[in-house]
Symmetry: C2
């Protein structure tokens, strides 16, 4: 039952102050705004909040978790704040990623440049299909999933990305965990069962569309609509 984070009551006491998951997500957003699109110098919480599209009080509370004190009457020093957020998020480090499943989605992710630039180079590609093993995708040779452990350890992989069909996802996840990966991003639908100390995040494309469809259908309820009801 290790869904995103908070399924672990009582055991997380080792950090300075527990930073809420929602705050971490927003911090990453602030970091992006700060990194690109803000002049050097100082910035007030109101300004930054406007850029990021959030309430300024929320922003200040978020930043208060960092211990990063701005100066009252002036605002936050952009350089200092950037460094502070990076330090807190661990964004100054590089996290090699292993991507499993070199299908449509997997290839696209491998070819997407936005990851390496943000400290997440895709260092390992894995698949079980003999036709794919040994081929090169986006400049990286595809390895056999059976060799996951050696390859991942050799490249100091810390994060695994699952882009396989649902049927293979659980098995792949187990392999990754056995290979020492403790953070997994799962694109396959369905539920993964993992040890509690493995951090899991899920991206379910069909679910997102279904959420939109729900609102769409609620909208159309008043007008007569060509539905198969």
């Amino acid at each position: 039952m290790a869904v995103t984070g908070h399924a672990d009551p009582g055991r997380r006491g080792s950090s300075i102050r527990a930073i809420p998951e929602a705050t971490v997500a927003r911090l990453a957003g602030y970091l992006r705004v700060l990194s690109a699109g803000v002049p050097d110098g100082t910035i007030s919480s109101d300004e930054l909040a406007a850029f990021a599209g959030v309430n300024s009080a929320k922003l200040r509370k978020d930043l208060s978790y960092l211990g990063s004190h701005g100066t009252r009457g002036v605002g936050y020093d952009v350089a200092t704040l950037t460094a502070e957020i990076e330090r807190t998020l661990g964004a100054h480090a590089v996290y090699p990623v292993a991507l499993v499943g070199v299908g449509h989605l997997g290839s696209a992710l491998a070819g997407y440049g936005g990851f390496a630039g943000r400290g997440f180079p895709i260092s390992v590609l894995l698949d079980s299909d003999p036709a794919k093993i040994g081929t090169s995708v986006a400049g990286i040779v595809v390895s056999d999933i059976a060799e996951a452990a050696e390859v991942c350890r050799a490249r100091a992989v810390t994060i695994g990305v699952i882009a396989t069909p649902e049927s293979a996802a659980q098995q792949v996840a187990d392999v990754l965990v056995a290979a020492g990966v403790r953070s997994i991003l799962n694109f396959a639908p369905g539920r993964l069962v993992l040890p509690d100390d493995v951090e899991l995040r899920r991206i379910d494309l069909a679910l997102e569309l279904q959420m939109l469809a729900f609102h769409e259908s609620r909208r159309g309820r008043s007008a007569a609509r060509l539905e198969a009801l």
Copy 2:
């Protein structure tokens, strides 16, 4: 700011009670479990909850929003419950999707079979690159973004998916809205400004990785982190 709160007197009141966003997401999950992997007949909330990986009380509360009454002492009729959830989510209808940006990610999404099977056929592909317009991707001809309005209306598109670089995202979103699209799924990082009646969901791949990196980096610091400064 399209807040999900319900302090909105002018709500379209076709549904009995406002359904929380979190509940809608879980309902989609229940639907998947029900559709594949559950024997016909009846199922108790405990069983279904175990399959879906949630608390059984939460499941019952979720289902109570449907007005779908199970029978006490027995459980829920699988067929009835499935139909009920589908009706509520609008999952019985088909929602044609327009996908903008036929790059790495866009092509992958177009080729991903998981959408059409769930009622979200990708009916329109759009791009601004003349080299791509007119070509065929996953069996669909790429149209010029300039013709978005006509093409989308012709195909009765209700949902738009943005898979362009960040720099083009806002502009594309505006075009989609002008073309009558009122639900958007955005893969581009950054913030989109949209009319209040347009439903927006965001998938930020880099953000997900950064969340994992945060936990990863905290793990490494578990030595002894007393109050700094």
